[in-house]
């Protein structure tokens, strides 16, 4: 078993390269001038600038929260850049062919070949490097059915009425410390709009890449699914290896109108830092969806990266008969810390929520599940089932489970179950007796432990998640 831990500690991050793309940045620091600069760069309308400035003023009155079970040196919010972008070589790319070859090469290296994606896989991709969207594929095909899939900046320019209507409607600019910061300085992100009754003809996906140093990344994603529509969306994330920590404070808002379905999947593989805990991304993210009547919002996340993860993808079950789901695998190794879980707020009648959380800790990592299931007085017939299981690999890691269940309606049925144990010696011995190496056996058992969550991922990504898990535990043994 000690071999397992040693090799876990030696795990290598495969996406740690840095691309030599010319970058333009705002000066370090956070103030109204920087916010004005970002807004001006993006040629934003006055209302959005005001919205940002109001968020900034509020942010400056807030203290960084301390309740989460993570530890890091204080973050100096004045000592980073709030805007960085690959320097445009002339006007923006009109097609894939015009994308800077260095950027294309970057995404190729990440296995996100933009050209291939366009030709073969039938998945529309919005690729975002540092603070800006570099290209969105398949726009024309999507436009035929009325689906809008573009960068946030473009949405502000082309569809201001939609953005204005929904921006901040689920995660307001005063929601929390990091959401306020994001509202002030958000740079880019993806925008999806699915018109009423439309089933989005392909998976939508955004690939986030941090490249520049000493730069925070603050994207904002907004997905609006009108009545009776249906969309599946996936995001992936990587970053170069750097010795300093980088802040990533994103906001995702989902609006699922009556009878709409949004499936949101995340494969998060930001740079986790090295074996001694140096460097890595601070991933402080606010994700929330609001579900109308009979609407369904399903979050699936596979979290293997980041030095620190802090996020609680949540669903406000506002409409009657709405459904919220959260399926999560969080793997932490070395010195990684994760404090993640979900909030399910039951407001409408006969609302149903499911939480399945699988946490794996190895090395010196600390993994925390934190969740809230709240049934309000109005939520007659609400149902929740929560299952959180934690697996420990090695004696120096920790696994913590902090659920909150608050029920104000007697017709609700809420069940919470959890377990924590080390990886089973019996299972390992059984598999090894059949000839599997300790590493293969560990990986197989861990994958089996996570199966329920992987089954929720879209097919193409389930394979990727499997591979990523293996990579995370690589050298785990042997």
């Amino acid at each position: 078993m000690s071999d397992v831990i040693e090799t876990l500690v030696e795990r290598e991050y495969a996406f740690g390269f840095h691309s030599d793309v010319e970058t333009e940045r705002a000066p370090k620091g956070l103030n109204e001038d920087v916010v004005r600069l970002i807004s001006a760069k993006k040629e934003e309308p006055e209302w959005l600038l005001e919205w940002r400035l109001a968020a900034l003023r509020h942010f400056l009155t807030l203290e960084e929260p301390e309740w989460q079970n993570v530890h890091h040196p204080p973050i100096d919010y004045q000592d980073m850049h709030y805007w960085a972008a690959p320097k445009p070589k002339g006007p923006g790319p009109a097609s894939l062919d015009e994308v800077d070859p260095e950027i294309r090469a970057t995404f190729d290296k990440l296995g996100i070949s933009l050209a291939e994606q366009e030709r073969l896989s039938g998945v529309a991709v919005d690729a975002i490097m540092d603070s800006v969207s570099v290209v969105t594929t398949f726009k024309a095909a999507l436009a035929e059915v009325g689906v809008i899939f573009c960068s946030f900046s473009e949405a502000v320019r082309e569809h201001p009425e939609l953005v204005r209507k929904h921006l901040g409607s689920v995660v307001g600019p005063r929601d929390n410390f990091f959401a306020a910061l994001n509202a002030a300085v958000f740079s880019d992100g993806s925008f999806c709009y699915i018109p009423a009754g439309v089933r989005c003809p392909m998976e939508l996906s955004t690939y986030f890449r941090i490249n520049a140093a000493e730069t925070g990344q603050f994207e904002r994603t907004l997905i609006v699914a009108e009545e009776g529509s249906d969309v599946s969306y996936l995001e992936g994330c990587t970053a170069p290896k750097r010795d300093e920590n980088q802040l990533h404070a994103a906001v995702v808002e989902l609006v699922a109108c009556d009878d709409a379905t949004i499936k949101y999947s995340t494969v998060q593989n930001w740079y986790p830092g090295d074996a001694e805990g140096r460097g890595g991304i601070y991933n402080f993210v606010t994700k929330r969806g609001r579900a109308g009547a009979r609407a369904k919002i399903s979050w699936t996340q596979v979290e293997t990266g980041s030095a620190i993860t802090w996020k609680y993808p949540s669903v406000i079950l506002q409409g009657d008969d709405s459904i919220g789901e959260f399926y999560s695998v969080a793997v932490t190794t070395n010195h990684q810390q994760a404090d993640t879980g979900s909030k399910m707020i039951h407001i409408g009648r006969n609302t149903t929520s499911t939480i399945v959380s699988k946490g794996i800790s190895a090395g010196k990592a600390q993994s925390t599940y934190r969740g809230l299931v709240k049934v309000l007085r109005s939520a007659t017939g609400a149902r929740n089932h929560t299952q959180c299981d934690s697996l420990l690999i090695g004696s120096e890691c920790g696994a913590h489970t902090f659920p909150y269940v608050e029920v104000k309606n007697d017709t609700a049925e809420v069940e919470h179950e959890a377990s924590t144990s080390k990886i089973s010696e019996d299972q390992l011995f059984y598999a090894r007796q059949r000839g599997l190496t300790e590493e293969d056996a560990t990986s197989m058992i861990v994958n089996g432990f996570c199966r329920e969550v992987f089954d929720e991922l879209p097919m193409e990504y389930a394979v990727e998640a499997h591979a990523l898990m293996r990579l995370s535990l690589e050298g785990a043994v042997g």
């Binding site: 309740w67 049934v375 007085r377 934690s390 420990l392 690999i393 090695g394 004696s395 120096e396 890691c397 920790g398 696994a399 913590h400 489970t401 902090f402 659920p403 909150y404 269940v405 608050e406 029920v407 104000k408 309606n409 007697d410 017709t411 609700a412 049925e413 809420v414 069940e415 919470h416 179950e417 959890a418 377990s419 924590t420 144990s421 080390k422």
Partner: protein
């Protein structure tokens, strides 16, 4: 002025500050009273408790006017020696069998105390400073483990703020049963109670803490258990009375190979608030703990449970279970449950389960279809729900008292 300073000014006996403080005043100055931002107090109406203390009079020094019959009526008698404290002061004339056990009444909180630990919170600190005294009970090895339980009865009489402290030492290798009962007249007492149980090596202790105070009482209590190696403890907390009642249980495994069952019931109705907070600290290896709590909540009452298992780094062979189930009997009743696991070692097997729901309609229908009236059917199902905790209680006189309270929880029939 901070709430804690105001409380000290009001409740500290003259001359106590200098003589007895021992750093507690400073501790209280630094930490103050808890509020709802403190995780452990999230579901407690802590401001109302502080307000009750702020307005309550200090305990009177006059001799209490109470007779044995009233004590029996309020608290019952389960046989065995019985210590009776009225308004936080031991009254030997009302007590029985004191010669059979070793008990002393100490003015200082530190006297007879178990392993020193920081105050659990501002209320604990306040009780160390403002308490009239501490009852120190030494349960020895030669006391028959098969005899009737030792009883400690607290009666709130005058409507004052009282801070009773009880320290119990259970001798190594001995086996004892202790029943603590908190009762009061409906005079608006505020009870800030501390119990410390110091359980020796290989000792066995069964402890029932029964809170049956009158509806105008505010009760904030804590039980601190320190278990030496090889010991076996069962501690139960039953919350039945008071307007606001909070029972905190903190158990620390100080040595390996011990086992623990912490169980209990809370039955708030009307506008009652019952809050149970349990922490089990697996600071030693090869210990087993099980938490089992049931809440039955009616009317506009609110019942809360917070369970917390901590497994320390470097320990092995830990087995910890937590179970909390809640039954809502009325549409306006509220339940909160927070079963926490905090684990820093890998050789563990920990589970927890929590549920909130109401009586099973199918089961009710089934019973009624067999001719059982609705009220009786509800009563049977509630009794069955609480049975796991109630059935484990002894002696019979105590079990019946609690079972009666459970039956009384089911008011008139609702469909």
């Amino acid at each position: 002025m901070r709430a804690s300073a105001k409380l000290l000014e009001r409740h500290l006996p003259p001359g106590r500050r200098a003589a007895e403080a021992d750093g507690v005043v400073e501790w209280l100055d630094a930490h103050g009273m808890p509020d709802n931002h403190d995780e452990a107090w999230r579901y407690t109406p802590v401001e109302a408790i502080v307000a009750a203390l702020e307005s309550a009079a200090p305990a009177p020094s006059t001799k209490p006017a109470i007779d044995r019959a009233l004590v029996d009526e309020l608290a019952g008698d389960h046989g065995g020696p019985r210590l009776v404290l009225v308004d936080g002061v031991l009254v030997p004339e009302l007590s029985d069998g004191l010669d059979a056990i070793e008990v002393t009444w100490e003015r200082s909180f530190a006297a007879g105390a178990g392993p020193a630990h920081e105050p659990a919170d501002g209320f604990d600190a306040l009780s160390r400073l403002a308490g009239a005294g501490t009852s120190v009970l030494r349960l020895s090895a030669d006391f028959s483990p098969l005899g009737p339980p030792v009883q400690v009865v607290h009666v709130g009489l005058s409507g004052a703020a009282v801070h009773p402290r009880l320290v119990v030492h259970v001798a190594p290798g001995s086996a004892h049963h202790l029943i603590e009962t908190y009762a009061s007249l409906d005079t608006g007492s505020t009870v800030n109670a501390t119990t410390e149980l110091v359980v020796g090596r290989d000792a066995t202790l069964t402890h029932h803490r029964v809170q049956v105070e009158a509806p105008s009482t505010v009760h904030v209590g804590r039980t601190h258990v320190d278990q030496a190696a090889g010991s076996t403890v069962r501690t139960s907390s039953i919350l039945l009375g008071a307007a606001i009642a909070r029972a905190a249980v903190h158990v620390r495994f100080a040595g390996p190979g011990s086992s623990l069952v912490v169980d209990g019931l809370y039955l708030p109705k009307g506008e009652q608030r019952h809050d149970t907070v349990v922490t089990v600290d697996h600071a030693a290896s090869h210990c087993t703990s099980a938490q089992r709590f049931r809440g039955v909540i009616d009317d506009v009452a609110r019942g809360s449970f917070s369970g917390h298992v901590i497994v320390r780094q470097g320990t092995v062979g830990t087995d910890a279970d937590q179970s909390n189930r809640n039954l809502l009997l009325a549409p306006t009743a509220q339940a909160d449950t927070r079963p926490w696991l905090e684990i820093f070692a890998d050789d563990v097997r920990c589970t927890h389960g929590a549920t909130v729901g109401r009586l099973d309609d199918e089961a009710l229908l089934y019973l009624r279809s067999r001719g059982i009236p609705l009220a009786e059917a509800r009563s049977m199902l509630v009794a069955a729900f609480a049975a796991e905790v109630v059935e484990a209680m002894g002696p019979v006189s105590l079990r019946e008292r609690v079972a009666t309270a459970v039956a009384a929880q089911v008011g008139e029939a609702r469909s």
